[in-house]
């Protein structure tokens, strides 16, 4: 490593430690920011000599990254950005903090994938899904797919692990000569009714899909979720036991197994490690307070709300919505989510934008009660399970009430 990179690494670690000591955060952004100021190529310097996997997509990045890091851990130490700081500052900070590791598994914000591929020269890139997310500033879905496609065309050496059920992802990955396909299902279809290649409608039947105007269609998957397990490329079925809820996490586990396999990890070695992952930066965490068993589910965009409804038990449910900077200022997406699965349970609402949610639920014929605080919500439900589903900053607010549970 060049001298400047060593200096930058030390400064980065120091800043991160200071930030943590000062109680200002987990230090995963400030450390990287300082390091990159001193050495703009620090991320490239820190990546060299490591076998790197990148995980990107609209939803499931943080969980899949955590599961993948656990799986690759079979082979040796893994550096990873486990706090969800998924831009180059977060990557730099994560690699600086861990020191020399043979492996790195990094979650990458979909907008930064091209830049992070250039810097880290990854062995494997996993592409999960693409759907609408914070549209007041995010790139249009089709533009994002095009960006990925162009980037991968310039890096034919990368092994791509991609979701065969998402037409946008399949099209983006089609420029790569080395793709392993996994089938983890696609719950959100509204952003892929139109073929990104030809503009013709995409038809669906069962789990299959195809473009009605060009050859783009669902490729045969090498890894397939089936029942409570995963079928590997040899045709062997493995039961997947997780502490994380929902079918969507079996899909995330399948992705992690497929990525780890590119490093030579066998499913049978990885599965016990996946079973030990209990929560991720507060997501899926369970906290007992005043006789209530509170479970935290993060839902950031329409697709992840549908997944959260699938995971939540039939129990009182608190929904909390903010529209601060990290959430996006636009709440229109509330009408892209069908809240009717919540009709037969007590529903509480809170958050900065509770009134937007109230009007939405009224039109959706979901009865609800508005509460002004998390404590009021706790008092409003009987002892037992309370499911909490919140978008990004609302989730962080509630997590803070619960002593920043991990």
């Amino acid at each position: 490593m060049p001298l400047i990179a060593k200096v930058a690494t030390t400064a980065s670690k120091t800043a991160a430690a200071l930030s943590r000591a000062a109680g200002r955060g987990d230090g995963s952004v400030i450390g990287g920011w300082i390091g990159l100021k001193i050495d703009p190529d620090l991320l490239a310097h820190l990546s060299s000599g490591r076998a790197v996997a990148l995980v990107s997509g609209t939803n499931g990045k943080t969980t899949t990254t955590r599961l993948t890091a656990a799986a690759v851990g079979v082979l040796g130490r893994v550096a990873t950005n486990s706090f969800g700081a998924n831009m180059p500052t977060g990557h730099t900070s994560a690699l600086a903090k861990e020191g020399h590791t043979p492996f790195a598994v990094l979650e990458v914000d979909e907008h930064y994938l091209a830049q992070v591929i250039e810097a880290t020269r990854p062995k494997v890139v996993a592409l999960l899904n693409l759907s609408r997310d914070q549209l007041d500033r995010a790139k249009e879905v089709a533009m994002m797919a095009q960006l990925w496609k162009t980037t991968l065309a310039g890096h034919p050496q990368i092994k791509v692990v991609a979701n065969s059920d998402d037409p946008m992802v399949v099209w983006a990955a089609s420029s790569s000569p080395q793709v392993t396909w996994f089938s983890a299902g696609q719950r959100w279809l509204d952003d892929s009714f139109v073929c990104p290649e030809s503009g013709h409608p995409i038809e669906r039947s069962g789990g299959d899909w195809w473009c009605t105007g060009c050859p783009l269609r669902r490729p045969r998957a090498n890894w397939v979720v089936e029942d409570e397990g995963v079928i590997d490329p040899r045709g062997d079925w493995h039961m997947v036991k997780l502490q994380l809820p929902g079918r969507v996490n079996i899909g995330n586990a399948a992705t992690a197994l497929a990525v780890a396999a590119e490093f030579g990890v066998r499913p049978i070695e990885a599965l016990p490690r996946l079973a030990r992952v209990a929560s991720i930066a507060g997501r899926y965490a369970q906290v007992d307070r005043d006789g209530r068993n509170i479970r935290l589910l993060l839902a950031k965009n329409p697709a992840s709300w549908l997944e959260a409804f699938d995971m939540a038990e039939q129990a009182p449910t608190l929904l909390s919505i903010n529209a601060r900077d990290p959430d996006g200022f636009d709440t229109s997406w509330l009408y892209d989510v069908d809240f009717s699965p919540l009709r037969n349970r007590p529903v509480l609402i809170t958050g900065d934008r509770a009134y937007d949610l109230a009007v939405r639920l009224q039109v959706n014929q979901v009865p609800f009660r508005h509460v002004l605080s998390f404590d009021e919500a706790l008092r409003a439900v009987p002892p037992g399970r309370l499911e909490v589903i919140a978008n990004y900053t609302a989730f962080q607010d509630i997590r803070a009430e619960l002593d920043r549970v991990n």
Partner: protein, 237 residues
């Protein structure tokens, strides 16, 4: 289509439904049903013929490519022109609003619109993103408009269209006026589920299409709170 029910068509949800545009269909249907008005809703995809006999047509916002494609298909189909000439009511949002005019810009090229509103749109220097508020044309008898806008276009009105509102916060058409209306056609940059914050506009469309002078009031406690909060937020910006 039956003739007893109020018929609402959502135009091309496969192309123009980027920002929760479905909300306007749900809200209209909900507010009609709450008054005991039977409703039939139709989601007409861009590969289907456009029905001509519905009472209300909704068209939403979207990206440049789908906007240009939607305009082309609606011009070729002709059904929407016939429906409007027969007196159908229209709510056109954002990209859908632009394509109701004579011309608009998509992907750097000037595209022909439907010519059903006397407006034309071009590109602004900056993108307009944020809270939007305006005082609605007094002839429509409605409370202030509140919405969220997110568009790169600027819209110029001809003599046969009136501004829907005078802007008091945000950009709208050009920083002065927002949206347009003529006959029973309403267009606005207040995007996505605009009717969630403006239930009075939903009721105006229902009155136009049923011929009723007034509708039974609904409990709009939550909508009123939302309106008040957002009108104040727009002032604070």
């Amino acid at each position: 289509m039956s003739t007893e029910s109020l018929r609402i068509v959502w135009i091309y949800p496969d192309l123009l439904s980027t920002y929760g545009d479905r909300g306007n269909l749900s809200i209209l249907a909900h507010r009609a049903a709450a008054r005991g008005i039977p409703v039939e809703t139709y989601e007409v995809r861009s590969d289907q013929p456009m029905p001509t006999a519905a009472d209300i047509y909704l068209i939403g916002g979207g990206e440049d490519g789908p906007q240009a494609l939607a305009a082309e298909r609606l011009i070729n189909d002709g059904g929407l022109h016939r429906a409007v000439s027969q007196g159908a009511a229209v709510l056109a949002i954002c990209a859908g609003y632009q394509l109701f005019g004579h011309s608009f810009f998509a992907k750097g090229a000037k595209c022909a619109g439907l010519g059903l509103l006397d407006i034309s749109s071009d590109r602004g220097v900056t993108r307009a993103v944020g809270e939007l508020r305006g005082d609605i044309d007094p002839r429509l008898g409605l409370p202030p408009l509140t919405g969220f806008e997110n568009h790169g276009g600027r819209t110029h009105l001809g003599p046969h269209a009136a501004p829907l509102a005078r802007v008091t916060a945000g950009v709208g058409n050009d920083g002065q006026t927002e949206g347009a209306w003529a006959g029973k056609i309403l267009g606005t940059y207040s995007h996505g589920p605009a009717l969630a914050r403006n239930p009075a506009i939903a009721d105006l469309l229902l009155r136009w299409s049923t011929g009723a002078d007034r509708l039974a009031p609904l409990d709009d406690t939550w909508a009123d709170r939302l309106r008040q909060e957002r009108l104040e937020a727009a002032t604070a910006v």
